[in-house]
Amino acid sequence: MKRYSGFGLVKHAMSHHENWERQWRNPTPKKQYDVIIVGGGGHGLATAYYLAKVHGITNVAVIEKGWLGGGNTARNTTIVRSNYLWDEAAALFEHSMKLWEGLSQDLNYNVMFSQRGVLNLGHTLQDMRDIQRRVNANRLNGIDGEVLDAKGVQDIVPILDCSKNARYPVMGASWQPRAGVARHDAVAWGYARAADSMGVDLLQNTEVTGFKIRDGRVHGVHTNRGDIEAKTVGCVAAGNSGVLAKMAGFKLPLESHPLQALVSEPLKPILDTVVMSNHVHGYVSQSDKGDLVIGAGIDGYVGYGQRGSYTTIEHTLQAIVEMFPIFSRVRMNRQWGGIVDTCPDASPIISATPVKGMFFNCGWGTGGFKAIPGSGHVFAATLAKNEAHPIAAPFSIDRFNSGALVDEHGAAGVAH
């Protein structure tokens, strides 16, 4: 892999950009791999990268039915934060946050991780109690955070309506300065390029249609391009995880819902942080290109359509205009939807399964973009050692039998 640099850019410009090399190969599937990752989203690609980099396992295929990073990784609103409530979740997301903090350099790919801070607003007395509780827990877990009152919020975001005129006036917020946003595509591509350079085969337009399972153990996968063998298979298929589990003969406690987002037209810089509100129910940040990137909650029904209902868009914009009345004349450019796999406790599943050699990493629901580095890192360790990484252990499927849930609903809310 030729490293990218400003100097390299100048060199390429001199030669009219005729000599750029491919960022990844387009290989023909081998018959057999040590590990197969199903799903070439951010989580799948990160898993492959850390398998190769940390564990030296490079005979790996990532099998993607469409194009790399084309699922939720391409559709999310890129909020990255680690101020989760419960110790287990906080450990996982903070692990991820630490990896984010050196990711561009690690991958030699600018993922534009912008630590511009995230505000989670409180509008009721109970919101404020929950915020205090979460920030106190974060502090004792070593995660940055502060409780702000309405004035503190106003100082950070002068354009937010913090007046008493609002239907639910802002009472305060939690503020995580290290949180922020990143460039979603770059994350997928950066991991893909780095994994490819260590020998990982990225197989696009390849769909897993079934699993080879004998004696309760996985031996490989069936795909539209033929069978491929491996003794270890990690499934990282987000909204389609339930479908894959069904192919393998078991059920996961997941529901797949549409989750929508929208952007405004590009604007000159107007909003420098990420503002989220559970109560008014919407969140917004501004991308480097200038679009306001906006989202809210899932659509209520289940489905695989990658499209949601218009009322959700209306409610979302009502929330945004309620919080930012000055945006009333800003115009919405585009909306889209992804399919998110939600768990009953709003926490992910990183787990072995009833089929030996087969692991699932899913249930990230509305908020797994931020987890990509951490999840890939601990899932790779889990696959490599055939044993749950300590950070991953609380997220095993067993918790739905034991009852040891990690209920992040309260902290998740609009959940990103």
Partner: protein, 1015 residues
């Protein structure tokens, strides 16, 4: 300024009405009927923007929704600013104020612009992924400058003065687009009496007929347009919506239309007939049939320097000449691959300006229009194309050469023609956007060549969107679509068959496929050939992307930003796909279709939000006693949608009490004398039916089999995971009739929960639920003197301690009004909850105060209620619980009936290993060691304050108050294994560095024998 490009006559503008407007600080004039773009062109304004990446000068290229360059910041005042308005879609009005959105004239302050000027060659696609990485700490600084350089217009910084409406509409036929086919369809359907909505995004209806050279019934086409509109406007069953864009097409023929009512008049909604108007309306339309008559967008050709001002798409030039009487130049070179575009040269010629040449990519063009051009002695250079434009701020010439499109090669000598305008036409792309919003993929039609709409249930495309471009087909497809649609809907009335009007036949030869024009140099070495103007995406960027392995069209688009602008690639997408296809050696449909998403064109947030902001964002709910609370100075708390009195500060000696002072006073009043709470907001669900009791048994953890009429019981409701969800009392009104109460915030959720279980799991149970929250006002009279006051206001209820026991309820009259009285207590004091029909509540409330004054009756709010119940260790679901707490964690195992016959909700979960763990977080009281300390709610609890971070946390404070009665701070908390830790000391390390100490105690701080509520 003179309008140097305005023709002496012609066009649909009203020359009698001259308008003045300001653009980039300069004053210009135009006419009524102009768009801002036509007026700018009339005034010879060439540069309307700077491009966003390379800061190149850009001019108007189109005349409609597809315009990528001419974006302006509109608005005369700060509060009426609108960013990114397309000048081609903005009607001119007197006093209009606009600015270009980017760079110029402030280009010197625009870092990206400077970088762009210095060398766009350092900015290949995705360059930002490859740079700005070192040192890591600098990214936030780099980003600041990148952000500054990006973006188009700016957000207003003051609040919008206007309002927006939503309308809900149903119709038989929704016709989108009022060109020839749309008008024909609307007319035919309208005459047959069905409900029709016809909408068109433009200022005027007529679509392509507005600049057509063709005659209809031997008259100018605009005549047929106005006759048709006259008739449509007469029909009561037809709604004609101009300036109305169908911007989103959703499932089941749900289409959203954005009707701009005032934007052509002024930048803020002006009153109409003396009444205020909304700025725009959003029509939410359910249509039985959608007629898609959205026409086509012309594709420009991709050649070197095709972005220099003076390069335009051919059809746009025809529009400017014929609709606005504006010729945007003096000498024209037209580069085309089809006959249709010859109209532009003919129009230009008729306008008295010079057509230098028509350059046609086809070796031997033939057809009516070609003949007309030849007859006028216009030079036609066949088998050739414009391969490069000359000039920087305005076209100064065109390099023309013979080409072989299939081999992608220049095959002849390059000739440079002098001209100031280059028109190009690469064919016509049907406007498939709306149909693809539905999730349907457009279909490739290699004849035109372009995509046509895929099949959508309930939708019929008509006219040129079908890929057949002649006028006769437009009329015919429209008529048969309506006949077919109405027939399908069961309407066979053929009495009023509408006939297509007469049109002249025009012979047109086939077009040839040409997207990117070959250059003598390779794409990477040739001057920039733009594909997506708004995002500065060039043919070479697409080539580099594919070389780097971005082979899926979605990857190409994302890596280069192709199609991500506010025009959503209306001009560029197909060209971009064609270029990728050529390089990858695939066909265009193999490379993929592009997915268009709502909105077709951008829509203001305000229009989508409608009236649902501020007061109407979420309904505010008031109790029947609200007015009294307001008059008595209550401060309010938002609880769910309700406004609840939080506390009632008194003004003593001119000083208003603080929250703490008021709450202390209110608490002492209840503990020592008597207080009253408006508890009307608690959810009330009336449950009736033979299986009502059985149903309660299943949704509550405790037993309901034996609750007799006249009795009340406290119930716990768990989710299926065994975690407490809500609590409240339920009273047996009669054998098959119960009244359930819920928390204020939980009411709607609980009702839904009951319905879900009833409807999906136990439909066999005969039981009905009705919300009666608003029907009954609830007043809690509580304190040692409660009985005394009650005795004064009731005559027919025996209030004796023995005959009206704790957890009894009775019917009677209070203050002469029928009432239900419940002897339940959330304060630990003697208490009566009086339910009164809401309409009569105020009378009763006033009478209670009338009679209660001598006892010192004190109104109290939610804060005091919280303190009083906390002194008694009574939980508030949602505050002391968070979805992870079981009844046993709360010490409420007495309310769990494990031996009930039916598997009630949560039972199974409560028998899982984790829920029977001994070290679960359990509900306890905390006594701060320092009596004056009031712990922070949400404070985390540790056993060892000296450990390092991350600390092992064992629980947190859920509620905490200063108890005026106990004269100390008290708190409720959950602590791991807390029930077994009574008397132990725990620590609370706070953000300010203080560490509080507290003792674990029973949550019942007061009257552990529960005697006070039974006095």
């Amino acid at each position: 300024m003179t309008q140097q490009n305005r023709l002496a006559n012609g066009g649909l503008i009203d020359r009698k009405r001259q308008l003045t407007f300001t653009y980039n600080g300069k004053r210009y004039t135009g006419y009524e009927g102009d768009t801002l773009a036509s007026a700018l062109l009339a005034n010879g304004v060439d540069i309307v923007n700077r491009s966003f990446k390379y800061s190149r000068p850009r001019g108007v290229v189109a005349a409609g929704a597809e315009e990528p360059n001419a974006l302006v910041q509109l608005g005369a005042t700060e509060s009426t600013q609108v960013p990114n308005v397309r000048a081609t879609q903005q009607a001119l009005y007197e006093g209009l104020v606009a600015k270009s959105t980017n760079g110029w004239p402030n280009v010197q302050r625009d870092l990206m612009g400077m970088v762009g000027k210095m060398g766009g060659s350092f900015m290949p696609p995705g360059f930002y992924y490859k740079t700005f990485m070192a040192p890591a700490s600098m990214w936030m600084t780099y980003e600041k400058y990148i952000r500054k350089g990006a973006g188009l217009g700016r957000s207003p910084t003051e609040n919008d003065p206007d309002t927006y409406d939503h309308l809900h509409q149903h119709c038989d036929v929704l016709v989108i687009g009022a060109g020839p086919s749309g008008l024909m369809a609307a007319l035919s359907a309208g005459r047959r009496g069905v409900r029709v909505i016809l909408c068109d995004e433009q200022e005027e209806m007529g679509g392509s007929l507005l600049d057509s050279r063709e005659l209809i019934n031997s008259q100018p086409a605009t005549r047929w347009v106005s006759d048709t509109l006259d008739e449509l406007n007469q029909l009561d069953n037809v709604t004609v919506l101009s300036r109305t864009t169908a911007h989103g097409y959703h499932d089941h023929n749900f289409v959203t239309l954005h009707e701009r009512r005032t934007e052509h008049i002024w930048d803020r909604a002006t009153p109409a007939n003396g009444r205020p108007q909304v700025r725009s309306r959003l029509h939410r339309v359910r249509a039985k049939r959608v007629i898609l008559a959205t026409g086509t967008h012309e594709r420009p050709l991709v050649y070197a320097n095709n972005d220099v001002p003076g390069n335009m798409i051919a059809g746009a030039i025809s529009s400017y000449i014929r609709r606005y009487g504006v010729v945007p130049g003096n000498s024209l070179v037209l580069s085309t691959n089809n006959d249709h575009a010859y109209r532009t040269a003919l129009n230009w010629h008729e306008a008295g300006r010079k057509v230098v040449a028509i350059v046609d990519a086809r070796p031997s063009p033939k057809g009516t229009l070609v003949d007309q051009a030849r007859a006028l002695d216009i030079r036609i250079i066949s088998g050739s194309a414009v391969i490069e434009g000359k000039g920087t701020n305005r076209v100064s010439g065109a390099c023309v050469a013979a080409i072989d499109p299939a081999a992608f090669k220049v095959t002849g000598k390059v000739e440079e023609l002098e001209c100031d305008t280059i028109a190009s036409s690469g064919g016509y792309s049907p406007v498939v956007h709306l149909s693809s919003h539905t999730g349907t993929r457009p279909q490739w039609n290699s004849e035109i060549p372009a995509f046509v709409p895929g099949e959508v249930k309930g939708m019929t495309p008509v006219g040129s969107v079908t890929g057949v471009f002649d006028l006769k087909t437009a009329f015919d497809t429209a008529l048969s679509a309506i006949d077919h649609a109405l027939e399908e809907a069961g309407d066979t009335s053929s009495s009023k068959v509408t006939e297509a009007p007469q049109v002249d036949a025009i012979q047109e030869g086939p077009c040839c496929a040409l997207y990117q024009v070959p250059h003598t140099k390779t794409t990477l070495r040739a001057p920039k050939q733009f594909v997506d103007f708004q995002n500065d995406v060039t043919a070479s960027a697409i080539e580099i992307a594919t070389r780097e392995g971005f082979e899926s069209i979605e990857h190409v688009k994302r890596y280069t930003a192709l199609g991500f602008g506010t025009d959503q690639g209306k001009l560029g997408n197909i060209n971009g796909m064609a270029i990728a296809a050529r390089i990858l050696n695939r066909s265009i449909p193999e490379v993929g279709t592009t997915v268009f998403r709502p909105n077709y064109t951008p829509v203001t947030f305000g229009a989508i939000a409608g009236r649902h902001c501020r007061d109407l964002f979420d309904p505010e709910r008031y109790t029947a006693l609200h007015q009294w609370h307001v008059e008595h100075g209550a401060e309010f708390e938002d609880v769910g949608q309700w406004k609840r009195p939080w506390y009632f500060p008194k003004t003593v000696n001119g000083k208003k009490e603080t929250l703490d002072e008021a709450v202390a006073r209110e608490c002492l009043a209840v503990r020592e004398k008597i207080g009253i709470l408006d508890a009307s907001t608690l959810g009330k669900i009336d449950i009736q039916g033979p299986d009502a009791r059985e149903f309660l048994n299943r949704v509550y953890t405790n037993k309901w089999a034996k609750l007799a009429p006249g009795r009340v019981r406290y119930g716990l409701m768990c989710k299926d995971d065994g975690m407490l969800m809500d609590d409240g009392t339920t009273s047996c009104l009669a054998e098959n009739h119960f009244l359930m109460t819920t928390t204020t915030g939980g009411a709607a959720g609980v009702l839904e929960w009951l319905e879900v279980w009833h409807q999906t799991e136990w439909p066999e149970l005969d039981v009905y639920f009705t919300s009666v929250t608003d029907h009954w006002a609830t007043m809690t009279v509580t304190g040692p003197d409660a009985r005394k006051l009650m005795e004064e206001v009731t005559t027919d209820v025996d209030l004796d301690r023995e005959s009206f026991k704790f957890m009894d309820w009775k019917e009677g009259t209070v203050a002469g009004v029928p009432a239900r009285i419940f002897r339940i207590s959330f304060t630990g004091e003697l208490a009566y909850e009086i339910n009164i029909q809401a309409n009569y509540a105020m009378k009763v409330w006033l009478e209670l105060f009338d009679k209660g004054e001598k006892y010192g009756l004190t109104p109290y709010g939610t804060e005091t209620m919280h303190v009083l119940r906390a002194e008694k260790g009574l939980i508030i679901a949602g505050q002391d619980t968070d979805g992870s707490v079981t009844p046993e964690d709360l010490g409420l195992q007495w309310a769990v009936g494990y031996d009930k016959p039916f598997e009630w909700i949560g039972k199974r979960a409560l028998t899982r290993p984790d829920t029977s763990r001994k070290d679960r977080k359990q509900f306890v009281g905390l006594k701060p060691k320092d009596a004056n300390v009031v712990l922070e709610e949400g404070a985390q609890i540790v056993l060892d304050p000296n450990q390092s971070i991350p600390m092992a946390m064992v629980g947190h404070v859920t509620s905490s108050y200063y108890s005026a009665h106990l004269k100390r701070g008290i708190a409720l908390a959950v602590v791991k294994g807390g029930h077994e830790r009574m008397g132990e000391t725990v620590y609370l390390p706070m953000a300010d560095g203080k560490v509080h100490e507290a003792e674990i105690v029973s949550p019942v701080f007061l009257d552990p024998k529960w005697e006070r509520q039974n006095v």
